[in-house]
Structures are given as C-alpha cells and as structure tokens.
C-alpha cells in the first residue's frame, strides 16, 4: 500500500494566497522574493498546482482579461482552502533531507588539492557574506516599511536566515584557518 505523501507546493501557494489574491506569475515572484530564504518552488510547478487547487475548490479564479491590463487570472483562497491550510499548518513540520553539496565535497576532500579545497571555502564564504548582507538589508527594510502584523512573522524568519548565514561565514573562516595550517 502506498500512502499519499503531502504535496507541500499546494500549501506554499495556499499560504501565499492567504495574504492576498494573486496571479500565478505573482505567486512565483512572491515566493521567490518573500520566502526565498527558506522555501522555493520551481517555475513549472505553480501553474499545474493552481489548476489542481482550483479543481479541488481550495482556490477560486477570476479571469482579469480585457480590463485594459494584460490577460491574467487572479486566484483567491476559498474558505475550504483556508481550512485545508490551517489543518496543514498545525502538523509538526517534517525535517527536509539534509543535502549540502559543498560539505559533501569537502568531506571527500582527500581527493582534492589544497588549492581546490581552499577555493571551495573562499567561494562559500563570499556567497554567505553576500547572503548575510542581503538579509540584513531586508530586515532593516521590513522594520522601517512594514508595521503591520505581517511584519512580525516575516522578521522571525529573516532572523533565522541571518543566524544561518552568520554560522556559515564563521564556519568558513574557522575551516580556512585550520586548513592553511594543517592540510
């Protein structure tokens, strides 16, 4: 017997629509701008999932064609959709399978030259520092521009991204220090 897995893409979309009605294109951008630090969806997933949600009556669709704008379909979450979202939200979160290609490569580092090992680390440090800058700027922006209740939830998640970026930078620095001495 094959038990149904939970399709999380459905809920990430429902959650987005719990803020405001959006088109598929809006959702795509919103997810990448707003939840990008901790959740992402592939381009090809949004439209098929929206069609499914519509079929299941968890969202409704308003065709906005011919209102002077470009033709677009605006989706709203239904009462049923909100109920489904809330039911999912209270379920304890599953941990995602750990997969860091960088750490895997460095773990296999005996097959790597010192130069290449260091190159990986320096590249990662730079990336993490850039991320950190980005999230700090975003944090500042939210604190200044948004004073609604939504900002509260947003700020908590941004802080998580900041903590992780800081941990990554610290780890790179430490490892670079060790490796230049010992390897």
């Amino acid at each position: 017997m094959i038990t149904k897995r939970i399709n999380k893409t459905r809920y990430s979309i429902l959650g987005a629509l719990s803020f405001e009605p959006m088109s598929g294109y809006d959702i795509k951008n919103w997810l990448s701008n707003v939840t990008g630090a901790f959740w992402s969806e592939s381009d090809g997933q949004i439209y098929p999932t929206l069609a499914q949600l519509l079929k299941d009556k968890l969202v409704s669709c308003l065709d906005d064609t011919g209102s002077g704008n470009r033709p677009r379909k605006v989706y709203s979450i239904t009462k049923e959709g909100l109920r489904a979202l809330k039911q999912w939200l209270i379920i304890p979160a599953q941990e995602s399978t750990a997969r860091s290609e960088l750490i895997l490569k460095l773990f296999y580092g005996k097959n790597l030259s010192k130069k290449d090992y260091i190159a990986h680390l320096e590249r990662q440090q730079k990336l993490s520092e850039e991320k950190l800058e980005f999230y700090l700027a975003k944090q500042k922006h939210i604190q200044e521009e948004h004073n609604s209740t939504d900002a509260f939830y947003w700020l908590q998640t941004i802080r998580s991204a900041i903590y992780h970026a800081k941990a990554d930078v610290a780890w790179c620095k430490d490892t670079l220090k060790v490796v230049t001495k010992e390897k």
Copy 2:
C-alpha cells in the same frame, strides 16, 4: 535542448568507495552514519545507481557469495571512477534549494493559534538540542578514536553541523522570547 543534470547520488557513492570497498548495504549505512548530517540518500537509490556505475565501469564488483558469509557483492572504485569523482569534486558546489517546512509554517503563522505557534518552536528547539548533543558526542568520539588524516575532513563537517544546530537553538529561544511577549 535539455541539458543533463548531474546525478549527485553517483558521486556520493563513489566518494564512499574512495575510502574502502563496500557492499550496497554498507554504503547505505555508511552514508546515513557518516554523512547523515549533510547528505542522505533514499534506500531505493543505492542499488540501481551501483548497477549504473558498474555499467559505466566507474566501479568494479566482487561477488563475495560462498565465502561462509551471507551472499554479498563488494564494490570497489576503479581508476576511471576516481578520475570521475575528482573531476566532480573541483566543480563549484551548487546550492541546494532552500526548503524548511518549519519556517514556512511559522511564516504563515497568522493562520495559527499562539499555542500552536509556540508548540512548533518548542518541538524544534528540543530537536535541535538533541542534534547538538549528538554531534558534540560524535565530535568527541572522532577526536579520541580516529587520528588518521580522514578525521581531519570529518571534523570540519561535524563542526558545520554543530554551528547550524547552535544557530537553530538560539533562534528558537529568541523567537519564543519574542512571541510570548508580543503575539
């Protein structure tokens, strides 16, 4: 034109075999025990991938049946396999797509009661603290038992897991503090 994506399962297995020859079952356990903190493979992936690697001559296979043990196939990495591994190792690591179900759920937290929001956080804090304990114990064990060159690479990766677990615990504590006051 559809460009070939890189199958990382192949390289995680080749990397394991770069330490010593192993059976499929060994690799499964080794990956979950040794690289579990930063890389995992599903059960159903190992055997088909081994068959593929054998076909591509990146590994060789010794049938160990009839030596008094249970029938098993022991795989070794070939020269070609080692070359392929090394080629992959120097390629800059791709960042894995961010997916934290917990953070997503908390981001949609306005659809959650204060009680349920806190329950998520307390559960996560406990999980992260357990992880931290586990990795600290592992770190100690490696420092005491392994004094080979392999330990060096292992210790770096364990430190990464420790930093992340610490960041998670700190984040949970901070967020719990804020939420009990403000939500």
